[in-house]
């Protein structure tokens, strides 16, 4: 049993301490916006915020997330308004299949918190998520649009 704080809510979940946070979020907390892509922290589809930092949740054990603030794609929008990254994603029609985009958006939201006006180089350095549809051109445009929103 572990107590996690996900999107501001405290939740007791019945998992072993070494369960990857990804699966606790998806299967125990029932929040399926966070995606499984590789399980080895390569692709970034499972990216969530842990105490504000973008982390690949497949590589984080539940025991290491206890007592921390976990934010998933479902909790990114606040007060009924979309996060500016989500809004830029809509405005720029970014997702294709969209499966990797939860993780992509979470990674970008964290980047913009650190660097409100990222350069292309900042984007190249920080955004390492895989997108097999290859919508990177729209991702880059939308990041700049969000930064200027």
């Amino acid at each position: 049993m572990a107590n996690l704080t996900i999107n501001g809510k405290s939740i007791d979940i019945d998992v072993e301490a070494d369960t990857p946070l990804l699966w606790a979020i998806r299967e125990n907390a029932g929040l399926t916006g966070t995606k499984y892509g590789c399980g080895i922290a390569q692709c970034g589809a499972c990216t969530v915020h842990i105490d504000g930092e973008a982390m690949r949740s497949c590589g984080v054990m539940v025991s290491d997330a206890v007592g921390k603030q976990i934010t998933t794609i479902e909790g990114l929008a606040g007060n009924g308004a979309l996060h500016k990254v989500q809004q830029a994603w809509i405005n720029n029609d970014v997702p294709q299949c969209g499966y990797c985009q939860s993780g992509m958006i979470m990674a970008v939201a964290a980047l913009l918190k650190d660097k409100p006006k990222p350069t292309d180089q900042d984007i190249d350095d920080a955004i390492t998520n895989i997108c097999r549809c290859g919508t990177f051109q729209q991702v880059r445009e939308a990041i700049h649009a969000a930064a200027n929103a």
Partner: protein, 730 residues
């Protein structure tokens, strides 16, 4: 090497395919025979009247457009809705969509036609009948309003979901007359708009599926939740053709959450548990003994040797020929030869394969992402052994497909597991490792090119011999013609939707078929991927061999191929071909035809130390005939360079002891944003034909960059992937 041709045909594919083939073959007839509703109103699940099979209108004017094809990111959902809405004259802001199920399609005499979504056919082979569906619904809605007003229908027009009686100015809305319209006899025929009059179609409208995708609400197959559902993890024999020998269930007895261990067919074992994580953890701990069989002797080296033996002489199927190549080559003043190869590739869609099945004694339902709902349905019938009226497939959004989800092996597995636990919904999810090692791989081939020139450096003869695998031989033997797989000549054929774009006085293109045991599949772009790499690289080689500009060299051979030439010239002009490139920047060109469309690419790259490549800029042109959503075409084109250049730089699946060696993205990498070149897309629809968009451009990505690499280094790369040659992205 006698073990080579040994094949293990998945038992499911043949039957699934019969339905798939019927669908393709009857496409036109379906278009003319779409029942546009009937005297009694058919109702949608919420009770709203169906004006016809394609259009449901709710009392609040919401327009529900039925989409038979699958949405896997390519934008077909939005494009098809645009085509229906264009003819319907509805308010686009009120449009929503839904996927009818394959079971409903069968029950309603295939009212929605073909569900299969591959071959870049989503729009081009259904545009006619979906537009007619929209137009027929409009006619019926107008007639219903005219009846109510007791005026001639010809005096009424529809626009933006509002019907207006022009003489009186009276108006009503679609939602108010839908109930009456649904009871009318559908029109015998309808006239479609000339595309030049389109208002919604032809515009880069935003996708309908985006808002849910940015908040994590979209339900992909992996996200299905059903009451009482359990989760399954599976391991299939690592070597195709091998079998499951035994497993030691006692070793995982008592592991947390485990409910059952089941055999799946003759080749696989699955653990069913409360959560996937528990199922996977237990499966990893389960001792399994495989009987890998004869195919375990096969390696990449043995396959390469076998294929290379097919490059010279021997029996080969002829796909395109004119003149007399042998005589012309014998008399050539100059000859140029080159041998190329292209490896296996995995689709690696971001969402690993999965399906959820619920089986009871008299019913079997499956929830999954599939590119071919009817083939998935056939797989459910076969695996469940239940009749069609007891089965259905509920289609969900796909987290990528790229051709892999046109196959139904994962659907069959889910049903076979669920059958062993009647009444309990089972979600089967493949690990990434299972997905990487049990793909339906892009077929492996080699190619020998031989060209002859006269004393004036004119190309007089070209022999292209491809040696390698046929997809249809394994997945679709019905498609073979006297043993030949016509699709191996995709982009090389004299006619069809993927023709050879050059005229050569003496030409021979032939294929020596060799089918290793690795199961091939339709990998986005399919056979044009390797065929274009061979042809377009060799065009560049030939041009340099006779000291001619690669564009001018091609131009001389393309007099009879104006549409191919038009896209090539468009990219050449925009990239500045013939003008000096910036210092340290080198250019390459490629053009091809595939899936009914003409595509070309021009690349600008820089190379450091001969091995670090920066792809700086891509100009890519597409002539798809008609452009239903140019903004989505631009995205498909840009994304095609990620897929194609990933295949070139990082791809390539190798075989050791009969099994695929790459297991995850650490060994089968994929391009990231920092490696993405700037892609400038030119969408240049010339009208008069309908071409596909999702696939054709991928094939020009690699040759354009390889030709630029030659320009930069003087070194010709003739095999893929570049990582094997220590060439990487800078």
């Amino acid at each position: 090497m006698n073990h080579m041709p040994k094949l293990n045909l998945p038992t499911m594919n043949r039957r699934a395919f019969v339905i798939g083939t019927a669908a393709v073959g009857s496409g036109l007839a379906l278009g003319l025979d779409i029942p546009f509703g009937g005297p009694a109103a058919v109702r949608a699940a919420d009770g709203s009247p169906e004006v016809n099979a394609w259009v449901v209108i709710q009392p609040d004017d919401t327009v529900v457009i039925r989409i038979a094809r699958s949405e896997m990111g390519q934008g077909t959902l939005t494009g098809l809705a645009q085509l229906v809405a264009e003819e319907l004259e509805c308010d686009w802001s009120k449009v929503t969509t839904e996927f009818p199920s394959p079971g409903q399609n069968v029950a309603r005499k295939r009212v929605w036609g073909d569900f299969s979504t591959g071959g870049s056919r989503g729009i081009r082979t259904s545009q006619d009948y979906v537009r007619k569906g929209g137009a027929a619904a409009r006619v019926m809605l107008i007639e219903a309003a005219a009846n109510e007003w007791k005026v001639p229908a010809a005096e009424c027009i529809a626009a933006n979901s509002v019907i207006t009686h022009q003489p009186s100015g009276k108006t009503t809305t679609f939602g108010k007359v839908a109930e009456a319209a649904a009871k009318l006899t559908p029109p015998a025929d309808v006239k479609l708009k000339d595309p030049k009059d389109w208002k919604l179609a032809g515009k880069g409208l935003k996708r309908l599926d985006t808002p849910d995708k940015v908040v994590g609400k979209t339900v992909y197959g992996i996200d299905v939740k059903l009451p009482g559902m359990l989760n399954a993890a599976i391991k299939d024999c690592p070597v195709t053709g091998g079998r499951l020998k035994s497993y030691d269930e006692a070793k995982i007895a008592g592991m947390k959450g485990v409910k059952k261990v089941v055999k799946v067919g003759d080749t696989a074992v699955a653990v069913v548990a409360d959560t996937f994580w528990h199922a996977k953890t237990a499966l990893d701990a389960l001792p399994i003994v495989w009987d890998e069989g004869e195919n375990a002797k096969v390696s990449s080296a043995s396959i390469a040797k076998w294929l290379s033996e097919g490059l010279e002489g021997g029996q080969a199927y002829v796909g395109n020929s004119n003149g007399d190549v042998n005589t012309a080559l014998a008399g050539a003043v100059k000859k140029v030869e080159a041998v190329y190869s292209y490896p296996y590739q995995n689709h690696a869609a971001m969402e690993p394969l999965n399906a959820t099945a619920l089986y009871t004694q008299d019913k079997c339902e499956v929830w999954c992402g599939t590119q071919n709902g009817e083939a998935a349905f056939a797989a459910v019938l076969e695996a469940s052994e239940l009749p069609a009226d007891k089965c259905d497939v509920h289609k969900l959004m796909l987290g990528g497909g790229f051709g892999r989800r046109g196959q139904t092996d994962y659907v069959r597995q889910a049903v076979l597991i669920a059958k062993q636990m009647p009444g309990t919904p089972i979600k089967l999810l493949w690990t990434r490792e299972e997905d990487m090692t049990h793909g339906r791989y892009h077929p492996i081939t080699q190619c020998k090119m031989t060209a002859g020139f006269d004393a004036d450096n004119n190309l007089t003869a070209l022999h292209m011999r491809v040696s390698g695998q046929s997809i249809q031989f394994t997945l679709r033997p019905e498609g073979l013609i006297n043993g030949m797989d016509p699709s191996t000549f995709q982009g090389l054929a004299p006619k069809g939707d993927a023709t050879f774009g050059y005229s050569v006085p003496n030409l021979l293109i032939d294929h020596s078929m060799r089918n290793p045991h690795i199961i091939p599949g339709f990998w986005r772009g399919v056979n044009v991927n390797h065929n274009a790499l061979y042809v377009e690289s060799f065009m560049d080689e030939m041009a340099h061999a006779v000291s001619q500009d690669p564009l001018e060299f091609r131009r001389k051979l393309m007099k009879d191929h104006p549409k191919n030439l038009a896209v090539l010239e468009a990219v050449a002009e925009k990239i500045g071909w013939g003008k000096p490139a910036p210092q340290g920047v080198y250019r390459g060109l490629a053009q091809y035809m595939g899936f009914g469309s003409y595509v070309a690419a021009a690349a600008e790259i820089s190379v450091t130390d001969g091995s670090k490549v920066k792809v700086l800029r891509i100009v890519a042109a597409t002539d798809p005939g008609y452009a239903v959503n140019p903004a989505q075409i631009e995205r498909q084109v840009a994304g095609s360079f990620v897929y194609g250049l990933t295949g070139l730089f990082y791809g390539g699946c190798t075989v050791k002891d009969g099994a695929i060696e790459q297991t995850n993205f650490d060994t089968y990498n994929s391009m990231r944003i920092n490696e993405m070149p700037k892609v400038e897309a030119i969408v240049m629809p010339s009208g008069g034909f309908w071409g596909g968009v999702g696939e054709p451009t991928i094939c020009v990505a690699a040759p354009a960059v390889l030709n630029a690499y030659f320009a930069a280094t003087g070194k010709r790369i003739r095999s893929v992937p570049l990582r094997d040659q220590n060439i990487t992205f800078a």
